[in-house]
């Protein structure tokens, strides 16, 4: 008969654990790596990509001028678009039914039409309003100019991009504002702040945390989206390389020139977004994780 009480065995150290070997992971990693190497090799060795030609054109003055135009369009569109967007969001959330409805209608209209169509409208604005005047609505006019003189292709491009951007920015900002607890505004007004001050000092800085990721998306989208202005002959990055390949027929290498620049700019913006997000995470997390640079330094120290 066996005893119900376990015999008192000398207890060795407890058995140590061994993690799973994840065989599937290794197999898939090898398969995918082989495919990646194969693809890279074909891109590097296929003479049709014309990497020599890419290197030859990537820093030519006309490409760099186009790059500057693209940067200018992106910067102006983002900055002015978002300023208008903040205004539209404030209108939408205000207690004034007229302001709120107008803001809603603006967003509805500018999100309902393709950017390309809007750009073509502004390009042809002279047909709608041959003269543009500065004055008081329904009142006296101070001066007027011919539309074709005022609205150059660059101005048409800026108008189209900015007004379109403002509609999307308004929704991003509105979402951010709604994400902040209404109690924050109550606490602020009970300290004697006006609503404008509450928005600027208390609500918007906290809304930034949810506004920034969406904005990062928008800025990158805008950077690439500016290439659409090449259809109305604005000499942006894409238009500049098109001008060259229309002459030399080196279509693929020159498109790669534009691609290289777009990738570089987008990468810079992504890094920028990371640090801006970190800045606005102040107070939202107990401790901030180290940046990749700090992590790298810690690794080597």
């Amino acid at each position: 008969m066996t005893s119900l009480i376990a015999p008192e065995a000398p207890s060795p150290s407890p058995p140590r654990t061994v993690g799973s070997r994840h065989v599937g992971r290794w197999v898939w990693a090898v398969v995918v790596l082989v495919l990646v190497v194969w693809a890279l090799r074909s891109v590097a060795l296929n003479p049709a990509f014309g990497w020599g030609t890419v290197a030859q054109y990537v820093l030519t003055p006309s490409v760099l001028r186009g790059l500057a135009t693209t940067l200018l369009l992106t910067l102006a569109t983002t900055v002015v678009g978002f300023l208008l967007g903040i205004g539209l969001a404030a209108m939408r959330l205000s207690g004034n039914p007229v302001l709120s409805s107008v803001s809603w209608a603006y967003v509805w209209l500018f999100r309902s039409t393709p950017l390309l169509v809007q750009l073509l409208f502004w390009y042809n604005v002279g047909a709608l309003y041959p003269q543009l005047s500065l004055g008081i609505p329904f009142g006296p006019t101070f001066f007027s100019v011919e539309s074709v003189n005022l609205v150059s292709v660059l101005v048409a491009a800026l108008l189209g991009l900015i007004l379109h951007e403002a509609a999307y920015a308004a929704e991003i900002v509105r979402g951010g504002i709604l994400s902040v607890d209404a109690g924050q505004s109550e606490a602020a007004v009970s300290l004697g702040m006006t609503r404008a001050r509450v928005l600027r000092r208390i609500v918007l800085p906290q809304a930034m945390r949810s506004i920034i990721p969406a904005t990062g998306n928008m800025v990158i989208g805008t950077l690439k989206g500016t290439s659409i202005v090449s259809v109305i002959a604005v000499t942006d990055l894409l238009y500049s390389v098109q001008t060259i390949y229309n002459r030399t027929y080196e279509i693929i290498p020159l498109l790669l020139v534009a691609t290289v620049w777009y990738v570089i700019l987008t990468s810079i913006l992504s890094v920028g977004q990371y640090y801006v997000e970190r800045y606005y995470a102040r107070g939202a997390e107990r401790t901030l994780p180290p940046t990749p640079l700090q992590r790298l330094r810690r690794w080597f120290s």
Partner: protein
Amino acid sequence: MSLLEIRGLTKAFAGTTVLDGVDLDVEAGSVTVLVGPSGSGKSTLLRCINHLETPDAGTIEVDGSLVAYRRDGDVLRELPERTIAAQRRRIGMVFQQFQLFGHMTALANVVEAPIGVLGVPRREALERGRALLARVGLAGREDAYPRQLSGGQQQRVAIARALAMEPTLMLFDEPTSALDPALVGEVLEVLRDLAAGGTTMVVVTHEIAFAREVADTVVVLQDGRIARSGPPSEVLDDRSVRVA
């Protein structure tokens, strides 16, 4: 004349009467504790005093002037936003959920309104802010963000923030209801200290022991009306009223 005078305050939310002709006087330097079952209108009454809620009828006077309205014959006309903002500087408010500004350090929370609203010079505001944080027992935590503080510490920063405006009247809306039982004591300690210092306070709370100890007047609200009002010893021992 009382520091706070409320006459016939009436407020309904979507047809439900929350306050039904409330009269209340609070003397300068006194502590008034509002008690009563939940839904009896305590918080609404408090929030009407600094116009976070809009009353339907009735008057609220602080220091002899109407809050948020001017009398025009037999109606009260709401004042412009800036005037109401100016009146609110004299009325401090502490919330159940603290509502510290999450993107600012404890000290920045305290000095934000003195600098931005009152125009106190920065150096002076910071000095006074540090002193206030020390007064609520938080010396050394000036640079902590709200999320790095416990609930009790956050609520004490919130009290310092309200005091920084040097209000003539302090309102407390269930200041300990969102706290762990172990942290309630440290906040009540600050309230006791303020009461002893002569701050005029109106406190909505469920802490009956605190009311008994600190209140000059206990007011029991029931169904939007004042059911009982008087010194704590009379009101709290009266078995005919429900205090919580």
